[in-house]
Each structure stands twice: as structure tokens, then as C-alpha cells.
Assembly symmetry: C3
Homo-oligomer: 104 residues x 3
């Protein structure tokens, strides 16, 4: 592998709100404008477990209401540290995962 | 990062069955009821390679038949060890991946 | 865990082209035919950041144009090394991530 970077996954629900925009959109704006982070992809899950253990899932009769959303990105560890510092007040504690990976 | 947790990904196909319910639903019930595991998200892929190397993919003319499904969750290493012990008889060998990550 | 394998994620955009087929299809063919790689799943994101920082996203009024696609697979480290050597000329630099995980 050519170099070491830090991979991050942020776990949200679609109904999450921050100020006037959705939390997902606020985080994407921060990643794009302030940090020029590389490799940002957003995934939507088809089901997830809520806080009380209930299963949230999509099906044909219900719209995709409050499904889990994961924002994934990777960059130099110093860039990621700066980003995580900024995210602290925006994302509920325990919802950000990070680990070292090789990039090629 | 605030603490170390174990991240797990379980690889299934939508047609997988366990007893009377789909294997995916059985695993989600186990994670919710028995272990109260945190951070559970289910993803559906748009294509995958089957056992014989054939590509399974969705397209407009076919319904989403037998697409790959990935159940992802993270929790304290001791909780994850207990969960993996329970899953051993339910998931085909070689279909569970785990690694240590930092959580914040 | 039973053994150590290498997990890989390849980041593409749906509009990526390689020779006459899409890059995604070329990579899947290579993984299936030449390497018989295990555990291959393709995911499509709902949004991503492009090279210039712009957000690419799907919404009801636009078709899913140029969304991010991630090809994920895992296998023995020696198999993965061989695969990555073959992918070098096909995937833009910096778009492949790899790390060690336990498999069960």
C-alpha cells in the first residue's frame, strides 16, 4: 500500500436535524468546504436497530422513513483529527467510528 | 477516540433461510433481544459474486432477487464475542468479518 | 476468529469507463475469472463528494447519475496482493483502501 490514512464512518438516522438543515447535509458541507476531505460516500441502510432495540426497516407500504444513513470518508490522519474535532458538537457521542487503513 | 470497540460485518444473501424466518431477521432479533447490540445497520448491495463466480445483480427487468445483504454492528469486544458465539450455528463459516476500531 | 484476511474497498463513480465496458464490470470480471475472490459485494451510495468538492446526490427529479459505487471484497492476503497488482492500471491512484481483519 502507498500510504496510511484514517477511515471514518458516522452513523445517523435520516430524521436527524441540526439547526435548519439535516445533519447529513451539514456534515457534508463541513467536509467539502472546511476540510476538502477525500473519499466521501454516503450510504443508506435498508434496516437498523433503534435506541430501544426496535427494528426500523423500509417496505413497500411505507416510505423510507428514518432509515439509517452512514457517512464514510478517509483522509490523512491529521486531516481526520481536525474534522472529528469539528464534528464533536454535531454528532451524538458514540456514533463515530475510525480506524487506520492502507491506501493505494 | 474515546474507546475501542469491535466492528462486525456479516455477509448474507437475501434468499438465506433459517428455520421459519429469513436468516437476516433471525440475526436482527438476536442482536436486539439477547444482546442489545449498538450500532446495527443492514445494507443491501447492488451486485455480488456467488459461490461459482457468477455475478448476481439487480436490473430494471428483474426484481431484486437474491442480492447480497450485509449486517454491520459494533460494540464492546466482550459483547461482540458473546454475539459471535451465538451466531456460529446460524451463519455459514467464513461469512463473518471482525476488526478493532476506535469509537468517539 | 478463525483466520486473518485482507478487506478491500474500491471507490468508483458509476460513470467510470474502462475500454468498452464500465470499470465496475471489468473489475468484477477480473475478480471472478482470474482470482476467484471470495466475499465480493458492490454497494451504491446515495451521495458523494466529487473531485471539486461538489455533492453528487440522487433525488426524485434526477436519475441516479454518477453516484458513488464501492466494490468490497476480502480474501487471503496473498490473493489480495495479486488482485491489487492487476488493478493498478485500471483504478485511479488513491481509490483503493485495504486493511487486515479476522474472519470466522
Amino acid at each position: 500500500m502507498d500510504d496510511d490514512v484514517t477511515m471514518v464512518r458516522i452513523y445517523l438516522h435520516e430524521a436527524d436535524h441540526g439547526r435548519r438543515k439535516t445533519l447529513m447535509q451539514e456534515i457534508l458541507n463541513l467536509l467539502a468546504d472546511q476540510h476538502r476531505v477525500q473519499g466521501v460516500v454516503v450510504f443508506r441502510g435498508i434496516a437498523g436497530l433503534g435506541v430501544g432495540g426496535e427494528v426500523r426497516a423500509s417496505d413497500l407500504l411505507r416510505l423510507n422513513v428514518d432509515l439509517p444513513v452512514v457517512i464514510e470518508f478517509f483522509d490523512q490522519p491529521t486531516v481526520v483529527d481536525a474534522v472529528l474535532g469539528t464534528l464533536d458538537g454535531m454528532v451524538p457521542k458514540g456514533h463515530i467510528i475510525a480506524w487506520r487503513v492502507g491506501r493505494r
